[in-house]
């Protein structure tokens, strides 16, 4: 049976990984960008939510799959070598009356089966998080909350899926879906037709566009922008727990976290954009000011403004009324939507994948699937800096490139970069991008933001892919590092004069 998954974000990649466990499936994972997870998946708060924030009456799928996803990520992050930590989450009641809101979520926790959730008073709050706003009334404590390196998630999932037989097609955009006699036959892409019996739409911000190609056009997806600040890893104060405020109807509110590279991160905003603004990841003065203002309510003080090393924005794919659209249709038969996967999308991705495999493909579509006897859940990935000293020395002796540190801020070696480039090639990435290397290693996202190391990384990519330095791209075609050799403009003038 031929399966095409449209979109290699964290949802599509999770589906690919889960389906790769089954026999007799030829799985094609299509992605219009140059690499996996370059859209929604890499620019978010990266929280693995406990699952107590969704009302099971209003959002049954979100509630059910978030709790499951949280549990699955505990195992998957280890299997796939995705850096993660499990600090737990504090939903802070800034004022005494916010405790009532917190109680509401305690009730949701109970109903959704989220373990360990309880209310904590002011004293215990300060013990759990010494840098919290000292005037806060109390909080709802959810110990199962985690954080992961979200830019690494989709690439890691795809590497593992490819290892288990999935075919990854980057720079492949679906332009049409062929339906004959009410059944899915395949997808038209910018690189040709791919046959498929099942087409699973996990196209993130563009899921409405893909769904329309299959004739299912009752919904639109609009982008919701979230802006963030990231501070340097030695800026203080930081937080130990995931800290946020009691939610409002539109958003989970601003978070204050210490992200995986050890820097304080605050955000996001929740700004609804028009449907045609799906590429607008620009930050704004107003958005960033909002984040700054609201973050100050949660932490005793923010580090000085000049310790900010990055501001960025991500988009979430909002479906109408916030409900996920996960369904297998009778007409066209074989078309499955996993659309509008907004928060808690990252957390739920593994559970969504399992749901689609079990309840939709096997359940609703009645296709019998047998698990493979041999399936490799592991992705061996390491960075030089995480190894113990003896292993580091052995590694350098085998390959001196591991002794050459190219990114000083994050201590990433040339050996690490070459290893990453080889992984990308093995996975099927055709254009090795600077962002692809950044997502898998954290280079260029530290104190110097690439002002020192970007050219070194670009040189390594150029060497390993046999292209001129200026042709190396940030994120694919149209984002080249340079425009030509240093004499290109004078040469044009010279040639025009002749």
């Amino acid at each position: 049976m031929k399966v095409v998954i449209v979109g290699a974000g964290v949802v599509g990649s999770s589906i690919a990984r889960v389906l790769s466990q089954y026999e007799e499936l030829e799985i094609h994972l299509l992605e219009k960008n140059a690499d996996a997870g370059m859209g929604v998946s890499k620019a978010n708060t990266a929280i693995i939510h406990p699952g107590h924030e969704d009302d099971p009456d209003k959002y049954p799928l979100r509630a059910k799959l978030c709790v499951r996803g949280n549990r699955i990520w505990y195992q998957w992050t280890k299997e796939l070598g995705i850096p993660a930590k499990w600090p737990g989450e504090l939903m802070v009641a800034v004022e005494e009356e916010d405790m009532k809101v917190a109680e509401h979520y305690l009730e949701l926790a109970r109903r959704n089966g989220v373990p360990g959730v309880r209310l904590v008073d002011h004293d215990e709050l300060l013990k759990l998080e010494p840098n919290v706003n000292p005037n806060a009334a109390g909080a709802l404590w959810a110990p199962t909350a985690g954080l992961m390196s979200s830019p690494m998630a989709a690439p890691a999932l795809v590497e593992n899926a490819v290892e288990n037989g999935v075919r990854f097609h980057p720079e492949t955009e679906v332009i049409g879906i062929k339906v004959e006699k009410g059944e899915v036959k395949g997808v038209e892409t910018n690189r040709g037709f791919i046959e498929a019996d099942i087409v699973i739409n996990a196209a993130g911000l563009y899921a409405d566009k893909i769904s329309k190609m299959a004739g299912i056009d009752y919904f639109t997806i609009h982008p919701r922008k979230g802006e963030y600040f990231v501070f340097d890893d030695d800026a203080e104060p930081k937080v130990t727990r995931i800290v946020h405020q009691t939610p409002t109807p539109i958003t989970k509110g601003v978070y204050v976290i210490t992200e995986m590279n050890d820097g304080l991160m605050i955000g996001p905003t929740a700004q609804d954009l028009p449907e045609d603004a799906k590429e607008d990841t620009s930050t704004s003065k107003e958005g960033l000011e909002f984040v700054w203002e609201w973050a100050q309510k949660l932490i005793k003080e923010l580090p000085p403004r000049n310790r900010v090393i990055r501001t960025f924005a991500g988009l979430r794919p909002e479906p109408p009324d916030g409900r996920w659209i996960i369904d297998a249709y009778d007409d066209p038969w074989g078309f499955i939507n996993a659309a509008g996967i907004r928060s808690p999308g990252l957390t739920s991705a593994p559970a969504i994948a399992q749901y689609i495999a079990e309840e939709l493909i096997q359940g609703k579509l009645g296709i019998k699937l047998t698990k493979k006897s041999h399936w490799n859940p592991y992705r061996k990935a390491f960075w030089f800096k995480t190894l113990p000293p003896q292993k580091q020395n052995e590694l350098i002796k085998q390959n001196p490139a591991y002794g050459r540190v190219v990114c000083m801020c994050r201590t990433i070696t040339e050996g690490d970069i070459v290893d990453i480039i080889n992984r990308m090639k093995r996975m099927g990435v055709e254009t090795i991008t600077l962002d692809g290397v950044k997502m898998r290693s954290g280079v260029m996202s530290g104190t110097c933001q690439g002002s020192y190391c970007r050219i070194r990384i670009a040189n390594i990519i150029a060497r390993e892919t046999g292209i001129p330095l200026w042709k190396v791209t940030l994120k694919g075609e149209g984002t080249e590092y340079g425009i030509g050799d240093v004499k290109i403009l004078l040469r044009e003038v010279k040639e025009n004069a002749e």
Binding site: D485, K487, L490, K494
Partner: protein, 121 residues
Amino acid sequence: MSETKKFKLTCIICPLGCTIEVVMEGDKIISVTGCTCPRGEEYAVQEVTEPKRVVMSVVKVKGGMFPTVSVKTDKPVPKKLIPEIMKKLVDVEVEAPVHVGQVIIENILNTGANIVATRPA
């Protein structure tokens, strides 16, 4: 009767950056005021008659540590010739080894200045 022209310029010879005024009648220099040293006066005179600059750039090199070697004119050249000089450097390719001071192009555009390497390759 030729025109009287007044030029106000900032001297670039040293960090003092004196503001110098040059008065000319036609192409004859009548006065130079405001400079605090003879080099400044010399610069001012040059600047109003035929401004000159040192030009620096890079050219391609084969077999060196880097793909380029840095070069400069070994003396100031007329400013108006700079675009021509830059065009002449476009297709230059030298072969390593190159030493500092090595002449890459002799007497560029008949200015009496050579293009010399400023970095070894």
